[in-house]
C-alpha cells in the first residue's frame, strides 16, 4: 500500500485500521464529511487528508487537534486497475511491433509526485484506440518505461536492437512510443544505428497525456500504425500532429525533425526538409517526392551498429561567451565538439579581447585530436566555410563545416561515428550524408514548414 501522507496522519490512519480506498468519515466541529480516502499527492500540504466525496470532488481536511476520523467501510483500492484487452488477429493485416519506452503517451496521474507519470499498461493504451486492430496485428514489446529526459545512448542501443529483432522476424514495420522531448534525439540515433532498413520505423508520442479525452496521442498512434503497416518508407521518422487540429499527422525524417514548441500538438517540424509523408487516421497517405523505398525483393537482415561514444559535446557561441569551455572538454577527455555557431558558422576569431577569442581554444582541441564540427544556431540553412574571412580562419585550422545538419544531429552522429569507426574515418564521414541528415539541395519551400 502506498503510504504518502505525513507521518502524523499515517499514524492516525494506521491507528484506525484505515487504508487508501476505505470509506471514512471526517468530523471537525459541526463539519462532517464522508468519502473515500484517496492517496495523497506529494503536492499541497502533507498534513491534509484527502477524501473523494460521492459527487466526485476531492476535498482536503487539515489535521488539527479537533479532527475526528472514523472508518465506515472497507474499500478496495482500484487504482490503475484496467480491463485487460485481448487483441484479435486480423489475417489480412500485417504484423507490426509496438515498442513501448514510456513518455506522455503512456502516462497518467501519479499520486507520488502529483504530476503525470508512466504507470500505463500497454493494453490501456490500445484500449482507447480499438481501430488499431483492423489496421495491423500489433505485438507489444514493453521494452522500458523511461521518461524523455532520462533516455540516453544506453537505451538507444536497446531500442535499435528491438527494432531489428522485430523487423527480422515477421513485422513489416515498427512503432516506438516514446516521450516527445527525447523523440528527435532518439530518432536521429536510430537513423544511424539501424542499417539496411527495409521497413518503416515510426516514432510517436503525445503532447497531452492519454488520461485526458483530448489527448493527441490517440490519433498519433493510429496514424503511426497506418504508416508502419502500409507505407513503403524504409526510414526512421517521427509521426505527430501536423497542425493544431486532429486531422492529419506528418511523418518527418528522423534526422531532420525537431521539437519546436513546448506544448503544442504540432510541435515537431522538419528543419531544412519537408515531411516524407502526410498520413490520415483513415489510412490515406500522401507521399513526398523522395525517400528510401521498401524493396520487396530485398531479403537481407536489418543490422544494428549500437555503439556510441558519449564524449561529444555541444557548445553554443553567443556574445561574451567564454571559450575556455572548450579547454574543459578537452581536459575531460572528450573526443569531439560540435559548435553551435552564429549565422553561417561563426565563432569569435578576430576580436581584440583575448579572453573572448575562440580561435586558440579551438586549435587546442584540434591539436589534442578532437574532432570539431561547426553547425548554426539559425537552425535553418547551411553553414559555409568560405564566405567570410573569419569562417576561413576556422575551416583552415580543421573545423569541419557540417552543412545543413542540426547541432543535435551532428552531435549524435559524431558520437555514433566515434563509437564505430576510427578517428580519421569518423572525421571524414562527419560531413558526408549517411541517413538523410545532409542534403545537397535545400529547396525554397523547406523553411518554417
Amino acid at each position: 500500500m502506498v503510504k504518502v501522507y505525513g507521518e502524523e496522519i499515517q499514524r492516525m490512519l494506521d491507528g484506525h485500521g484505515i487504508k487508501v480506498g476505505d470509506q471514512i468519515r471526517l468530523k471537525m466541529g459541526n463539519v462532517e464529511l464522508d468519502g473515500e480516502l484517496m492517496p495523497k499527492a506529494n503536492i499541497g500540504s502533507r498534513d491534509t487528508i484527502i477524501i473523494k466525496m460521492a459527487d466526485g470532488y476531492n476535498i482536503g481536511m487539515r489535521l488539527t487537534s479537533g479532527l475526528e476520523i472514523k472508518k465506515l467501510a472497507d474499500g478496495v483500492p482500484n487504482i490503475a486497475s484496467f480491463p485487460k484487452i485481448s487483441l484479435k488477429r486480423v489475417e489480412s493485416a500485417p504484423d507490426v511491433s509496438l515498442i513501448y519506452t514510456g513518455g506522455t503517451i503512456g502516462s497518467r496521474v501519479d499520486y507520488e509526485t502529483g504530476g503525470v507519470s508512466m504507470l500505463l499498461k500497454p493494453e490501456e493504451l490500445l484500449y482507447k484506440v480499438p481501430e488499431i486492430q483492423g489496421i495491423a496485428n500489433i505485438s507489444v514489446d514493453m521494452l522500458m518505461s523511461v521518461a524523455s529526459e532520462d533516455l540516453s545512448y544506453h537505451e538507444w542501443g536497446r531500442i535499435a536492437e528491438s527494432v531489428a529483432k522485430a523487423l527480422n522476424n515477421s513485422a513489416r514495420g515498427a512503432i516506438i512510443t516514446i516521450g516527445t522531448d527525447a523523440m528527435h534525439y532518439t530518432a536521429a540515433a536510430l537513423s544511424f544505428m539501424l542499417k539496411d532498413l527495409n521497413g518503416p520505423v515510426v516514432l510517436t508520442g503525445a503532447q497531452r497525456s492519454s488520461d485526458r479525452g483530448s489527448s493527441d496521442g490517440f490519433i498519433n498512434l493510429v496514424c503511426a500504425a497506418q504508416l508502419a503497416s502500409k507505407s513503403d518508407i524504409a526510414e526512421v521518422g517521427i509521426c505527430m500532429h501536423n497542425d493544431e487540429s486532429d486531422g492529419k499527422c506528418a511523418y518527418i525524417r528522423g534526422v531532420k525533425a525537431r521539437k519546436m514548441h513546448t506544448s503544442r500538438r504540432d510541435a515537431f517540424r522538419p528543419i531544412n526538409d519537408k515531411p516524407m509523408a502526410y498520413v490520415w487516421p483513415s489510412g490515406e497517405i500522401k507521399y513526398a517526392k523522395s525517400y528510401n523505398k521498401v524493396d520487396a525483393n530485398k531479403h537481407g537482415k536489418v543490422t544494428v551498429m549500437p555503439n556510441f561514444d558519449p564524449r561529444v559535446a555541444i557548445v553554443k557561441v553567443y556574445p561574451n561567451s567564454n571559450p575556455k569551455i572548450i579547454d574543459f572538454y578537452v581536459n575531460e577527455g572528450y573526443r569531439g565538439i560540435i559548435i553551435e555557431g552564429t549565422g553561417l558558422g561563426h565563432a569569435p576569431v578576430s576580436t581584440g579581447h583575448q579572453d573572448l577569442l575562440w580561435l586558440p581554444h579551438i586549435k587546442y582541441a584540434l591539436d589534442n585530436g578532437l574532432i570539431v564540427g561547426m553547425t548554426s544556431q539559425c537552425l535553418y540553412g547551411r553553414v559555409h566555410p568560405n564566405v567570410y574571412k573569419n569562417l576561413r580562419l576556422l575551416s583552415n585550422i580543421g573545423v569541419i563545416y557540417c552543412d545543413d545538419m542540426m547541432a543535435e544531429v551532428a552531435q549524435i552522429k559524431l558520437g555514433w561515428l566515434l563509437g564505430n569507426y576510427k578517428v580519421d574515418e569518423a572525421k571524414a564521414m562527419l560531413n558526408k550524408n549517411i541517413a538523410g541528415e545532409i542534403k545537397s539541395r535545400l529547396e525554397f519551400d523547406e523553411f518554417l514548414v
Partner: protein, 624 residues
C-alpha cells in the same frame, strides 16, 4: 396550482433545488491571462481548430463506457478562436497558468456571505465533459465552501450545500448530429456555482431563493452583468416521479411557472403509467415498413425515401389515445417520445393520435401498416422516416422512451421548449455521478488565515447594503428596487464619482433605462465610463435632466465622446445670466411680460437646454 401552495407541495412530495451559475467580473480568465470581456457579436474568429475526443479512464482507472462516450468517437468539434479572447491555454495547447487569485478571493467572499465552511485545501479537479464544450475534454472546477445558508426577505431559510469555482464552457455556435462548432471567447471565464439543498418548499420559494442569491452576487459588485452571465438550473421531482434538471431559463421571473409545468408534466406521466399498468400494454420492436409507402403522397416520408431513406414503424400496444394526451401546454406524450428520436438526427415521429388525413396517408397505406404491425383496436403506432443509420438509431431511442412510460418519469436534463408557455423538452439523460479526477497541472492551494480575513471583509452583505441604500435614497421601495437591479454596481460607482443626486441617478437607471430599452435602444452596451461622464455633466450644470435622455440615446448608438455630443446636438444648458438674457429676448420677441407665456415660448424651443425650476425661479424673481 398556485406557486406558493405549500400544502399541495407537501402532499405531492415536491422536491426542488437550484443551481446558480454566475460569471465573475475579474480582469483575466481563471487559468490564463486572456481578458474576460466577450468580443462584440459581429467580430469574426481569426481561426479555428478541429478536434476529436475519446473515453479515458479517470482517477480510479475506471472507464465509463456509456453510450454518450460511444457517440463521442464519431463527433467532430470545431473551436473558433477570437483574436484577443483565446490563447493556447483555451485550445488545450498549453498547460493552465496559476489560478486567478482575484477569482478565488471573490468565491471565498461569496461563501463567507452564505455562512459556509471554507475547505482547508482548494483542489482543482477535472470534471469530464462529453459534449465537447471544452477542448481539453474536461472542465476545471474546485470546491470552495460547504454547509451554508441563505434567508430570503420573506423569511424562507434554505441550506446552501456547496459553492464551486470553475471555468465557463465554450459557447455553442452551431450543431448537427456529428459536428458541433464552439466559440472559445467565453471559455475559461471564472464562474461560481452555488447549489442549494433539494428542500425548497414551493415553486414561489425557488424563485425567491434564486433572486436572493442573485442579489447577494450583484451586491458584491464583482460579477459580470448582461445576457448569459447568470444561469439558473432547477431540479424538480414529485413523489413517484424522478429528478429532472431544467436548464437554460433566461428569465428568473418565469422560474415558478417552469417548475409548476414540470410538476404537471410529472403528474401526467404518472397518470399514463397507471393507465398502462392497468391494461395489457406493451411496446413492440421496430419494423422496416418502407415498402408500404413506396408510392405515398406523404411529404415528410417522400422527402426521406426519395433520398434513399427508410420508414420504420413500431406498435404501441394499448397506447391508443395516450400519445395524444397533453402533458404540458402544447406538448403531448407523442412530443416527448419524438424529442428522443430527434436526438438521433431525424425530424421526429408521426404517431396514430395525430390527424392522419392532414399528413396525406391513404386508407390503403394505413390498413397495410395495421396488418404489418398487427395493430389491435386499442393500439397506437409510431413511424420514423429518415436516412440510415440515423433512422434505426432514432427508432431504438423512441422505443426506449416509450418503454419508460411504464416507469413514469425518466431522469432527464431538459431545456427550454417555449419561453412564453414556460415548457421544456428533453436534452439528454441526467448525467450519472460526475467523472472527476485531480488537475495535476495546478497545485492545490492551502487556505490561509489571511485569505479568510480578506474574504470576511469583502463578503457581500445584503442587509447592510439595503440599509445604506435606504439612507441614501430615503425611500424604501426605491432602495429595494435598486438592490435587485442589475445596475446596482453602476449606481454605486456613479454616485461615488460625481455629485449627481442619488435619487435622480437611481430613477434614471431604473426607469429611464427600462424605457429606453423598451424603445429599442441598446442601453446595456453603453460603456460605464460614458454613463458616469453623462451624469457628471449633469452634476456640474453642463446639461439639463432632459439633456441626459438625449445623451443616453446618443451613447447607445455608439457615441463615446460626450463633450462633443453635447455640442453637436446643441444640448448645452442655458443658465444664470444667459438664461436671464434669453428671458428678456423672448419677452421682447413675443411682446409679453407674462411669465406663463414666456415660459411656454422658452420651453417650446429650449426644452432640452433650460432647467425648468431655474426658469421658474428667474421668472418669479422678475415678477416681484
Amino acid at each position: 396550482m398556485e406557486p406558493n401552495d405549500s400544502e399541495l407541495c407537501k402532499k405531492i412530495g415536491f422536491m426542488c433545488g437550484i443551481e446558480i451559475h454566475q460569471r465573475l467580473a475579474t480582469r483575466e480568465k481563471l487559468f490564463c491571462s486572456c481578458p474576460t470581456a466577450v468580443p462584440p457579436s459581429d467580430e469574426k474568429p481569426v481561426g479555428s481548430v478541429k478536434r476529436h475526443q475519446r473515453a479515458v479512464a479517470g482517477e480510479l482507472g475506471k472507464i465509463d463506457l456509456s453510450a454518450e462516450y460511444e457517440e463521442l468517437k464519431d463527433r467532430e468539434f470545431t473551436y473558433n478562436i477570437y483574436d484577443n479572447n483565446a490563447c493556447l491555454v483555451e485550445i488545450d495547447e498549453e498547460p493552465p497558468h496559476d489560478l486567478n487569485n482575484d477569482a478565488l478571493c471573490i468565491a471565498i467572499a461569496f461563501a463567507k456571505s452564505l455562512k459556509m465552511d471554507i475547505v482547508d485545501e482548494f483542489q482543482t479537479m477535472r470534471k469530464s465533459v462529453v459534449n465537447g464544450s471544452n477542448p481539453s475534454a474536461f472542465q476545471r472546477t474546485m470546491l470552495i465552501g460547504l454547509n451554508g445558508e441563505i434567508e430570503t426577505s420573506d423569511g424562507i431559510k434554505t441550506k446552501i450545500m456547496k459553492l464551486f469555482l470553475e471555468e465557463e464552457s465554450s459557447g455553442i455556435e452551431s450543431s448537427s448530429h456529428n459536428a458541433v462548432v464552439y466559440n472559445t471567447d467565453r471559455l475559461g471565464i471564472p464562474l461560481v456555482e452555488i447549489d442549494t439543498d433539494p428542500y425548497i418548499p414551493t415553486p414561489a420559494a425557488a424563485k425567491s431563493v434564486a433572486l436572493t442569491i442573485g442579489t447577494m452576487l450583484r451586491v458584491s459588485g464583482s460579477v459580470q452583468r448582461g445576457l448569459g452571465t447568470i444561469r439558473q438550473d432547477v431540479n424538480v421531482s414529485i413523489r413517484g416521479g424522478s429528478r429532472v434538471e431544467i436548464k437554460g431559463m433566461q428569465e428568473l421571473d418565469k422560474m415558478d411557472k417552469f417548475i409548476i409545468n414540470e410538476i404537471t408534466r410529472q403528474q401526467s406521466l404518472l397518470e399514463i403509467k397507471d393507465t398502462l399498468q392497468s391494461i395489457d400494454a406493451k411496446v413492440h420492436q421496430g419494423m422496416d415498413v418502407t415498402e408500404i409507402f413506396r408510392n405515398t403522397k406523404v411529404k415528410v416520408i417522400t422527402g426521406q425515401t426519395e433520398k434513399g431513406g427508410v420508414v420504420i414503424g413500431f406498435r404501441l400496444q394499448g397506447f391508443k389515445g395516450l400519445l395524444g394526451k397533453e402533458v404540458n401546454p402544447e406538448r403531448r406524450l407523442g412530443t416527448e417520445i419524438s424529442d428522443y428520436a430527434k436526438a438521433a438526427g431525424v425530424n421526429g415521429i408521426i404517431h396514430s393520435d395525430e390527424d392522419m388525413g392532414k399528413y396525406g396517408f391513404s386508407n390503403d397505406e394505413l390498413s397495410k401498416l395495421a396488418a404489418a404491425l398487427s395493430l389491435g383496436e386499442n393500439d397506437a403506432f409510431a413511424l420514423i422516416a429518415g436516412q440510415q443509420p440515423h433512422a434505426s438509431k432514432a427508432a431504438s431511442l423512441a422505443i426506449n422512451r416509450a418503454q419508460m412510460c411504464f416507469d413514469g418519469v425518466p431522469l432527464e436534463t431538459r431545456g427550454v421548449a417555449n419561453t412564453e408557455l414556460c415548457t421544456t423538452k428533453f436534452m439528454r439523460p441526467l448525467p450519472t455521478s460526475s467523472r472527476m479526477y485531480p488537475e495535476t497541472d495546478v497545485r492545490p492551494i492551502i487556505t490561509t488565515a489571511e485569505m479568510l480575513k480578506v474574504a470576511e471583509r469583502d463578503a457581500p452583505d445584503i442587509a447592510a447594503e439595503r440599509a445604506s441604500l435606504k439612507k441614501q435614497l430615503s425611500n424604501e421601495s426605491l432602495a429595494s428596487n435598486m438592490i435587485m437591479s442589475p445596475r446596482l454596481g453602476m449606481y454605486k460607482r456613479i454616485v461615488s464619482s460625481c455629485q449627481a443626486d442619488p435619487v435622480f441617478v437611481a430613477n434614471v437607471l431604473l426607469q429611464k433605462f427600462t424605457e429606453l430599452k423598451r424603445s429599442g435602444l441598446d442601453v446595456d452596451y453603453i460603456p460605464e465610463s460614458s454613463i458616469i461622464d453623462i451624469f457628471s455633466k449633469y452634476a456640474d450644470g453642463t446639461v439639463t435632466k432632459q439633456g441626459i435622455d438625449e445623451l443616453l440615446k446618443a451613447a447607445s448608438s455608439g457615441t463615446t465622446d460626450i463633450a462633443s455630443a453635447i455640442n453637436k446636438r446643441n444640448l448645452a444648458r442655458v443658465k444664470g445670466e444667459n438664461l436671464a438674457k434669453l428671458i428678456s429676448s423672448i419677452s421682447s420677441e413675443i411682446k409679453s411680460t407674462e411669465p406663463d407665456k414666456i415660459r411656454r415660448a422658452i420651453m417650446s424651443k429650449y426644452r432640452l437646454n433650460v432647467d425648468g425650476s431655474e426658469l421658474n425661479e428667474l421668472l418669479n424673481k422678475s415678477k416681484q
